[in-house]
Structure formats: C-alpha cells, structure tokens
Amino acid sequence: MHCRIDHEPLDTHALRHAMIDRRAGGFVVFEGWVRDYNEGREVVALHYEVHDRLAVKEGERVLTEALARYDILDAVCHHRSGDLALTDIAVWVGVTSRHRAAAFDACRYIIDEIKARLPIWKKEFYRDGDSGWVNCVGCAQGHAHAHHAHAPREGQSRG
C-alpha cells in the first residue's frame, strides 16, 4: 500500500508490474486522464499544485480505510503534480483482490475520496487564453459564466 505524488509522467507498465500477486484473481485500475473540455470550455492544458507531504499522508489514510473496508489484497495510488498535456494521466489507482467485486468497489471508493480530500489543486488553461482554478469561487466557474456570451462567436470563427 502506498500513495505517491509524481513530478514526471507515470509508467503504467511498471505500476502494474509492481502489483502482480499470486493470490489475486482480479486487478482493477482507474486512470484519470486530462480531457479537452470542462464546464463547457475548451481546455488545452492543466497545472496541478500539490502539497506533497500532506497529500501522501491523507492518501495513505484513504488507502488504509479501503483495505479495512473491502476484501482486497493491495491498493496503490499515484497522482501527478506540475504541468500536464491533454491525454496525460493525472491519477492512477490500482487495487488487487481475490475476487473482482471488492476491487471494483475499493477502487471507486479510493478515487472518490482522493478527489475530495487530498490537498491538490487543478488550474485549467483554456483555448481562449484564459485560465482558472477548478472548484474555486470566482475562478473557473465564474470565468465560464462571464465567457458564455463569446462562445458561439468563437465556435463560428473556428468553423
């Protein structure tokens, strides 16, 4: 069991390999990817800011909870920090179990708790040159409302 904050791209092959376990009958992975839109705006890049020490501490608390709640063998989480491009992996959660149901349930629990609890902040950079912190008042959402009026015009100019 471990949680890590990574400053370089994740090596998913190595992560998977490290979890191989003869007792396991199932392995469930969740990968969170950087996608090209959010809240109706075209996203071109992301920046993650992380308080590494507290994120690892809280992340391992989440993994410990999952190991206690579900009948799983191991659980690992990696989250990126820094600048990410579209399609990059932002977060990787891997869970092994003897039977698949527990691994699915635990993986879902871990990613949901990680998103809600770890001191990680996401800044989105938009096609129109604007940027904003996700989930903050007066940040991304506020800008999104302010820019709704421009969206159709920008769409037409691109077409």
Binding site: K115, W121, C136, V137
Partner: protein
C-alpha cells in the same frame, strides 16, 4: 496577542499575492484566524469548502490556534 505564520496555496496564494506571512492575532481558533485572513485578502470561497492544517496535520476549524503555530489554508481541492 499571538504571532502565527500562515501559508496560502493555489488560488489563495494568487489572491493574497504571497505564499506566507506573519500574522499577529487574537483569534482563538484556526476558523477565526481564517475569517480574519480571508477578509484581509478577499478570499471568496466559503470556509466549509476549504481545509486547514496546523503544523502539517489537517485539522478542524474549531482547533485552537497557539502562538508560534504554522497554519496552512487550503482552498477547495480538485484532485483527479
């Protein structure tokens, strides 16, 4: 009067224009200290959606603040 060090992250750091500062305060709890700092720097996010850590431990808003504490204010998180 207590002398406390506060640290700001993400949007709070940008709104405050600083990463950390020394604060002289009569605040009894970290929640009261947050209200003081948020008012001074114009933080718009409601306290219920933010988090706070004291000396590297996540704590509740009711936690007492002591002279010499290092208090970290976290805006709403967005991992994943």
């Amino acid at each position: 009067m207590k002398r406390i060090t506060t640290e700001y992250f993400a949007v709070f750091r940008e709104q405050a224009g600083i990463m950390e500062e020394r604060v002289d305060s009569h605040a009894g709890t970290v929640g009261e200290l947050f209200v003081e700092c948020a008012g001074r720097h114009g933080f718009a996010d409601p306290r219920e959606r933010c988090k706070v850590a004291v000396n590297d431990e996540l704590v509740s808003w009711e936690t007492p603040v002591h002279d010499g504490d290092r208090v970290l204010f976290f805006p709403p998180v967005a991992g994943g």
